[in-house]
Symmetry: C2
Subunit: 228 residues, 2 copies
């Protein structure tokens, strides 16, 4: 890792799935999320990866809830980068991008499809292109969620033809059942391929579940950024 | 390439998409497919990768049509390996595996999902597992269709836990828009990863469209089998 490049820590406070019944500490309401993010910000996190929930804790992509969360984080954590999720667990079709007109600093973007533990994570090409175009329009920096090697390649094609604005910021996601496991030679090849196809790209990595700390360690050791 | 290991040539006579209006030489009826396969067999092909069509040329997964095609190839091309497609263009859900009780020598099997030019190629985990179990039950050898690196890894996990019977036979597919392009470092890493995770596996490769000859050349040069 270059001595002058700081490691960016991204904190995912809530995610789309865990409930209070799984862990009472999971922040669900906007007020809880803001305070939890505030604590992480004071501990050194600089990006907040945000999901919102309905009152019954189910995942939501309601732009009004995202607006309240974004405003709360901006007030309590001045200078923190707000990244809103456009992930497929929280909505379907263009509803997944309904918060992009809020012009957050960043938003997550999946550019391909893959299997999840019990279903297909569907990101059809026309939806991917529409989300990317909304991010260009509202000057939102995408974090590319790469669940497989082909997603990294696809992101570099989209940057090359102008559908995404460079430099790319790509997150390698490992450890989801039926998708890519935490595998170090593959992790290394992800870095190598991204650098080959988009030399100015930055990357981070997230390990899901049991893979979390392993992937955090690889990211930091290999010069990337990381996700808690 | 080892001097003693012959290169297996698999011929895909028809595919699921091209029509007579695209190319009058595309064999559509069972009789046309049998004769076209017979010519390829005499030219040295040893596996016939088979799709069937309805009378209007649309893709089908009708077991009766597959039975007629299999019987014709077995009669005209004694010893040729018959591989039936369970691909998603020809049917949906378990209809994709309705021909497996015919107990062909081989059948294609996709073990993950990915994007195609205009849609998601959906292979949900429960369908993948059901198709694999039907192949075990009828002693059908799967050809794993790997459209991304994660599909190779998933196949090795399924072989390790008994959902697939080894040794694996994996086809790397490159050149489909929005999926993996023909990229030589990635091709080499596919081989390396497969050998690392399943040392006894065999592999072949298919380049789609403009990538066909390039991928054929890589396959032969690097010791794999190939698809016309
Ligand atoms: Zn998320
Ligand atoms: Zn606060
Ligand atoms: Zn096929
Ligand atoms: Zn004949």
């Amino acid at each position: 890792m270059s001595q002058t490049q700081p490691c960016i820590i991204c904190v995912a406070i809530t995610g789309s799935l865990p409930r209070k019944s799984d862990n009472p500490a999971v922040p669900i309401t906007v007020a809880e999320q803001v305070e939890s993010t505030h604590a992480a910000f004071e501990a050194g996190a600089t990006i907040a990866h945000c999901h919102v929930r309905n009152d019954d804790e189910t995942p939501s992509s309601d732009p009004d809830r995202f607006a309240a969360l974004k405003e709360g984080i901006e007030r309590h954590c001045p200078g923190m980068i707000v990244q809103l999720s456009t992930g497929g667990r929280s909505g379907a079709g263009q509803a997944r991008g309904g918060m992009l007109p809020l012009a957050p600093d960043m938003a997550s973007l999946s550019v391909g499809s893959n299997n999840f533990p019990t279903r297909v994570y569907e990101n059809p090409p026309d939806l991917v292109d529409w989300l990317a175009s909304e991010m260009l329009r509202h000057d939102v920096k995408p974090e590319i969620e790469a669940f497989d090697l082909g997603h990294i390649v696809q992101a570099t094609r989209m940057a090359a033809d102008g559908r995404l604005k460079g430099p790319l910021y790509v997150q390698f996601v490992m450890g989801v059942k039926n998708a890519m496991p935490a595998d170090e030679p593959i992790f290394d090849f992800y870095i190598e391929t991204l650098k080959r196809l988009a030399p100015d790209a930055l990357w981070c990595a997230a390990g899901i579940g049991a893979a979390q700390l392993t992937v955090n360690e690889w990211s930091i050791a290999k010069g990337g950024h990381t996700r808690t």
